[in-house]
Amino acid sequence: MSDARTVQPGDRTLAYLTLVPSAALLILLSAVPTVTVFATAMQDVGLGALSGPWVGFENFIWALNNGAFWTALWNTFVWVFGSVAVEMVLGLGIALLLHQSFAMRGIARAILLAPYLVPTIVAVLVWRYMFHDIVGILNFFLMDIGVIDRPLQWLSSTSWAMVSVIIVGVWKFFPFVVLALLGILQSIPQEQYEAAKIDGASAFQQFWRITLPYVMPVFILTALLRTIWTFHKFEIIYLLTGGGPLDATTTLPILVYQKGFVDFELGRAAAIAILTFVILAALIAVYFLLMRRAESKQ
């Protein structure tokens, strides 16, 4: 009986009144803009204008025939998979470490999770300082231990810029993975390990046969969520490299911004944004599918 939902006279009014503000905001600022962006993408919006004559799918065709779009798409994939792969491995490792008990674990935990709380602009500033060609500590340290013999141009060379951006991204966002995995690790019933020990399982076997299978559903969901979020991350790249040098770190969101607010071609920008969203929507669909399957398994 406990979850029987009572409906009394007046409940409907209350429900509608309380939901109206939320619904209005969501419709006006998510649903309507989504429609508008499609409309904009079908228009030839002139420089600095907000709308223009209808041109059908011309902007899409332009985008698909444009080298910049394909470069940005490739860059996006490098950025997303590079970041997420490292984040997941690092996140799992740190989560397993923090799951052990050791002295001052609380402090270690706080420091390891801190980057996630740090505002992006802060992460960018401190890493830019560390990446600096001349005064940056990173170059100095690497030369000191003999890994490199002359300063690397972290952010300003086409070969290193993407690596640098990924390093900062991983540093900033791997704690999310740690948090997600630590939660599930702590929920593994201790008896499972005790039973395994009595059955003669080695530490590695315990990890392989108990920990990993238990963690796997959450691991996959987390990886997918990180993929979706990393996909449309904008400011971390924009603030580190602005998409450069040349277009070495221009991902799709950066390209949308450049088309829309640097070149002021809103129609073309909208077309690219929609193409970006289509790829993203596929990922989101997979996410919901997996989530539903995980929920129904419970």
Partner: protein
């Protein structure tokens, strides 16, 4: 499988003491854990350490190669310059206003909306929650184009109001979704009891459910504040004049202007942006723990 081979233990001798540390495997294991933990903490923590340390270095030391590790001379000049020579205080107040207002809005709007999502299940309410979650997944770069058009058309360009509305709309789906599951965990019988005791539905909600949901509201508040404090793209597109810049945008425009804004100032600014977030988090962490233990007593 350690089987003792010593069969000569006298029947009534002192009991033998066993220490785990005597086991070589155990010892090696512990050493490994500490080494790994130390490495991880050093690598991950270093940038933040470096930021704080460098913000106390005088200008001359920030540009020397090789860099000094600890400052030869500790100074607060960078912080002073930040307030005297730049618009940092303006940015800070703008950020505080935008983040505070949008947090309050998403708490009120999301807090009451989520109540109905949790307690009622008639026409369309279930799918409303799902639509909200999809909205949360919409990429900012997709939304920012049409919002830019609206902002211009409504004459809201270069105002903080535009930022507040956009930030609220962006955190609202999460507020709704999170609070709904929080309300779901609060037993219905508490509200029913309050209604039998003489409350209306609204009274029961305000007197019983909302006070119990405070830890959840606090989490949502922290999240919303953090989001608005961090938000960059909307600020970049919607605002331009110095008096309307928020912190991330303000500091971003300083990057690369070494002759006017020194690294010292930038890093001092970075420290000051981080402080409220950390303070907020520490403050709230305690409250969250209390809230959780309180929630543990529910239903009994």
């Amino acid at each position: 499988m350690t089987v003792t081979t010593d069969t000569h233990i006298p029947a009534r001798a002192e009991p033998r003491r066993h220490r785990q540390i005597d086991d070589v495997h155990y010892l090696a294991n512990r050493v490994m854990i500490y080494l790994l933990a130390l490495t991880a903490v050093t690598v991950v923590g270093f940038p933040l350490f470096w930021m704080v340390i460098s913000s106390f270095k005088p200008g001359s030391e920030l540009y020397v190669s090789p860099p000094t590790f600890l400052p030869n001379e500790w100074t607060l000049n960078n912080y002073r310059d930040l307030f005297v020579q730049t618009n940092f205080p303006v940015y800070f107040m703008n950020s505080l206003f935008v983040a505070g207002t949008s947090t309050a809005l998403s708490l009120v709007i999301g807090g009451i909306g989520a109540y109905s999502l949790s307690r009622f299940n008639f026409f369309g309410i279930g799918s409303f929650a799902r639509v909200a979650l999809i909205c949360y997944m919409l990429p900012e770069v997709l939304i920012v184009l049409p919002l830019y058009i609206y902002v211009i058309q409504l004459g809201l360009a270069d105002t903080l109001i535009a930022l507040i509305i956009a930030n609220t709309a962006f955190t609202l789906p999460l507020a709704l979704w999170f609070m709904r599951s929080y309300y779901n965990a609060i037993p219905m019988s508490l509200e029913e009891s309050a209604m039998v005791d003489g409350c209306t539905r609204l009274g029961a909600m305000l007197r019983v459910t909302v006070p119990l949901a405070v830890p959840g509201l606090v989490s949502v508040g922290v999240f919303s504040f953090n989001h608005a404090w961090n938000e960059f793209l909307f600020a970049l597109v919607f605002t331009s004049s110095e008096s309307k810049k928020v912190l991330p945008l303000g500091l971003a425009t300083w990057i690369g202007q070494d002759n006017i804004y020194s690294w010292g100032m930038l890093l001092a600014g970075a420290v000051l942006i981080t402080l409220p977030v950390m303070a907020f988090y520490l403050l709230v962490q305690k409250k969250l723990v209390v809230g959780l233990s309180e929630g543990g007593a529910k239903g009994e």
